[in-house]
Symmetry: D2
Subunit: 342 residues, 4 copies
Amino acid sequence: MIVILKSGVSQDRIDSFISDVKEKNLDVHVSKGVDKTVLGLLGDTSKLDPEDFLANEIVESAERVSAPYKMASRSFHPENTVVKIGGDGSTACFIGDGKTVPLIAGPCSVENEKQLIDAALAVKKAGARILRGGAYKPRTSPYSFQGLGPEGIRILEKAKKETGLPICTELMSASELKYFENVDLIQVGARNFQNFDLLKEIGKFGKPVLLKRGLSGTIQELLMSAEYIMANGTEQVILCERGIRTYDGYTRNCLDVSAVPYLHKVSHLPVVLDPSHACGIRWMVGTLACSAVAAGADGLEIEVHCNPEKALSDASQQLPPVMFEELAVKLNKYAAVEGKTI
Amino acid sequence: MIVILKSGVSQDRIDSFISDVKEKNLDVHVSKGVDKTVLGLLGDTSKLDPEDFLANEIVESAERVSAPYKMASRSFHPENTVVKIGGDGSTACFIGDGKTVPLIAGPCSVENEKQLIDAALAVKKAGARILRGGAYKPRTSPYSFQGLGPEGIRILEKAKKETGLPICTELMSASELKYFENVDLIQVGARNFQNFDLLKEIGKFGKPVLLKRGLSGTIQELLMSAEYIMANGTEQVILCERGIRTYDGYTRNCLDVSAVPYLHKVSHLPVVLDPSHACGIRWMVGTLACSAVAAGADGLEIEVHCNPEKALSDASQQLPPVMFEELAVKLNKYAAVEGKTI
Amino acid sequence: MIVILKSGVSQDRIDSFISDVKEKNLDVHVSKGVDKTVLGLLGDTSKLDPEDFLANEIVESAERVSAPYKMASRSFHPENTVVKIGGDGSTACFIGDGKTVPLIAGPCSVENEKQLIDAALAVKKAGARILRGGAYKPRTSPYSFQGLGPEGIRILEKAKKETGLPICTELMSASELKYFENVDLIQVGARNFQNFDLLKEIGKFGKPVLLKRGLSGTIQELLMSAEYIMANGTEQVILCERGIRTYDGYTRNCLDVSAVPYLHKVSHLPVVLDPSHACGIRWMVGTLACSAVAAGADGLEIEVHCNPEKALSDASQQLPPVMFEELAVKLNKYAAVEGKTI
Amino acid sequence: MIVILKSGVSQDRIDSFISDVKEKNLDVHVSKGVDKTVLGLLGDTSKLDPEDFLANEIVESAERVSAPYKMASRSFHPENTVVKIGGDGSTACFIGDGKTVPLIAGPCSVENEKQLIDAALAVKKAGARILRGGAYKPRTSPYSFQGLGPEGIRILEKAKKETGLPICTELMSASELKYFENVDLIQVGARNFQNFDLLKEIGKFGKPVLLKRGLSGTIQELLMSAEYIMANGTEQVILCERGIRTYDGYTRNCLDVSAVPYLHKVSHLPVVLDPSHACGIRWMVGTLACSAVAAGADGLEIEVHCNPEKALSDASQQLPPVMFEELAVKLNKYAAVEGKTI
């Protein structure tokens, strides 16, 4: 950590500040400029918040030198993490292996058995490797369809049995974890990405996690939330960029494609992109998906529904099977440029 | 709801769309322009999501005419809601009465009994009406101080007994509600403002709620989250603006002072401002607090600590008692311009 | 335009409002709901600002049905516009032809003759079709290098003669247009994208224009600025997305890749992406460039410098020739997926 | 400037980097940590851009210690700047004197002589000290009213003669400066706040300047733009916060009231707030104006029109005289809390 002191501070106050810092088991390097004094704090600074130093009125600014996350950091763990999904009653899928760009596909919500199984068969046929479907739905309005809950999970399990696809679904409350024993990939939604109590419980549960970036989550916050899960016991974490909130509303959110190369640089965790939520408009999903593959995404999550116009949620962004099939063919071509397959 | 159809759509498809809409128990008014057809959907549209209409490819755009919230809306409930805090083992405080601008003050975190009681006595002396203190702390890093939990609540209860001040503290997980029986005002933090499962459980619990706007929460989302609480049984909801996230990081967040007059216009719920989290810098808190009173805030939440430099969280923004006392005097002068007191 | 009136408005006031609107040569369709009255305004509404209707206190909201831009709109001009750059003393390049993704490359600033010619030869060798270089530099600080001005243009002209590449450079003030006679593509920078006086003069000048989106420009504002140029006489306008400003500063700006498909949908003008300014970090430029091609960009603008570390501006984002050559090879592979070449 | 080097860099490369830096007439302090080396660059760093250091691949990050602006900085000029407006053919008004909060009021656009003079008399009667009115209008659409130009200036001069009020109007192009000889305060609009050529010419012209913050301008960028004007000869600069662009569109812009105390801390220049453009809604202007006074604003700019519904621009936000008069009375009460008057 670098702490810059205000100009004109007496040596006494500087000494007293330095001795306070040393009490925290840190070493201090002092660099005196013409005008200002700069302190380098050395040691384990991960528990410190740079903003807290500003409480001392002799401090002008404080900045981290090293990242506040450790387990999620590439410098701590140089090799890529490959997350294994399913394999137990389903065909295993690997995310982050550098050779594949698996598609996680299925409807926004589980609505009933027929609807889910139809969608599952359709996405499997097109080449998807994991089935998604929401049983618990985070809806902005209390009057909207809230999901089938445990019954939705049961239907997902049935689809898994029929298709052999591992299943991915969202958890909204730790008290529902008891229903997630057969879920292969647990999703944390954008609105819960800093629900720290939920992150802790998921970390203890041990299943692979798909962690979505919050609507206005910074890259560093996303990695800190991954750190919560990892520090609680689960290292199989997939990061998911799904569009951020900006000043312009021409799409539902703004796909931040730069997150892929940047996360790959600073972290060893795989990065999946969700073009469906990023744009929220059916006709744009395919173009963004291609763009995501070219950006190096380790997988894609795409919403597919056999009858989107009648869907109970996110009707405007779900693809019908025919569009998804065509898209999968094209994605394979983009993946091939780097020697990968979907 | 106004639905605008694309140009060049056949009458058959328009008729089929209209009959689909009528199945949802809505009336449809058709207005044909030179180029486009505009449909007015009449009836209870609160369960509809305008975006879902976009799933139908004949639709160009869809917009609400009436707000998606009801119970939180001023048109549904024209009179101001006055929220009563405490009164049972503490001195009752009313927020939203139009005559007072009560101060909710105390440390960021409950650190130990002496620290909290000292702060409680100090803020009471200066004129605060409610004591705040965090027992459960939503920290970005898993390595930061996470709060004392139930022991923190116990200390708050003790401070309440000693000072007669009602207590306000944050809930992060519904599973902890069992410790909140004696809490007078339950805070929902910015990071949980769309944790819908938490909102439902708090709504069922029945205690007054202080609902903070999310870091990038829209005003409409804030009201929809209030609606979750109200639809589940608790109408005593206070809305809290605490700074939003923008492109400029010169302050921790950006106090959106316009939220006060706007929320007063569209909702009957009281609005409290939190200048401490808005700026995150001690010397700026007072100025923003004055500005908030002039904007018509129904109360202020301000962090106070007897020794801010040693605080375990948010050290840079907590006021020492002497600054808080001076501020309270000045706030009273600003309140007096509209015939109010703190 | 759709105008929604407040509830409880007397028929007299509605009638008076309608007759005011009709004076503007517009037809009015009235649709009465249970609660609110909705007016459809028909005719040429392009000169109206929906916000102005709010001045009338009986109006609750007002929204456009048709876009406020005309000449830039695809509904007005269904065929793609192909912009021809150069051809007179240089090899012509076509942007927007659907068959090529031309690269516009060269240094951020023209620093001296040798520096520019070296860069020009390097980018030509790698396959770039247009040479860029800044003679007038919009620098945040008055103390930074401000560009060589007319001498920079002279050097660009020399490089054009030596390499046969058309040249692209930024104009900051209409008073300098006299030096732009031999410039093949005039760039309007992000900070001047709503400098309407400049847009008007450029429109009258008649040369092809590369119009950059402002730091927080909406897609609609970008199209309105294109409309300024077109309405003043120049229809050869290329739109350029170069990264927008968001709350997260991990890259210099945030590449909004969705702008490509969206602009293609609503406008006939070609869309170029600038990955260099979008990220501001050399190692990320290539990945974003690939992503841009997959998103359907009609061209790319990339900064290249033979000795980036010594560059007088934007040192951190310029590519050395060897990186640019490798990138061009890869971009050709991505372009090939859709049957295009760079 | 603090430059942090990547870990594992050879001493040779560090030495070579340091000698490069020393060539720029800077001293370098080296601080070696366990892992990383931190360099403190001492001397005049105002011409350096921290981002440029990232061009060198041994550099991990670079941050300024001192502000990049000088003449606008309070550390360079500790006393408040008081800007004198008018006095020559009008009654002088002082902005930044700490005793008054002058109101700059008048219509958005100068529409004709009667309209402006009526508004001028009305605002003078209510207590305004400076008359505003737009002769050159920066409109998003080329089809909207663009202002009367030189004729508008002539009308403003006439109003000045009739009322004795100094006049303030916006300049959009340096080529029009010839008409500004009798203008007392030249406004630079939000869209031109980084039109550096315009800033330079205004700086040379010598009249007091009201510089508006850009729609997504940072506080630092605002001060750098002031620096452009000051470095070119005009030290009489007033900073104006007029609302910024955020993710939420419930108001036209978001009034960033914290800018007042922050700018007062880091700069000696006066700060004026523009509540009209901040919200864009007539009924909210007054509340924001009160809030601005409580935040310590040195003046307010407020749009007033005798018949807002018929205004040719910004109809929805202009106040009729009766509202402005009532507001002026209330603003005086808020100003009185700090011993000031409007």
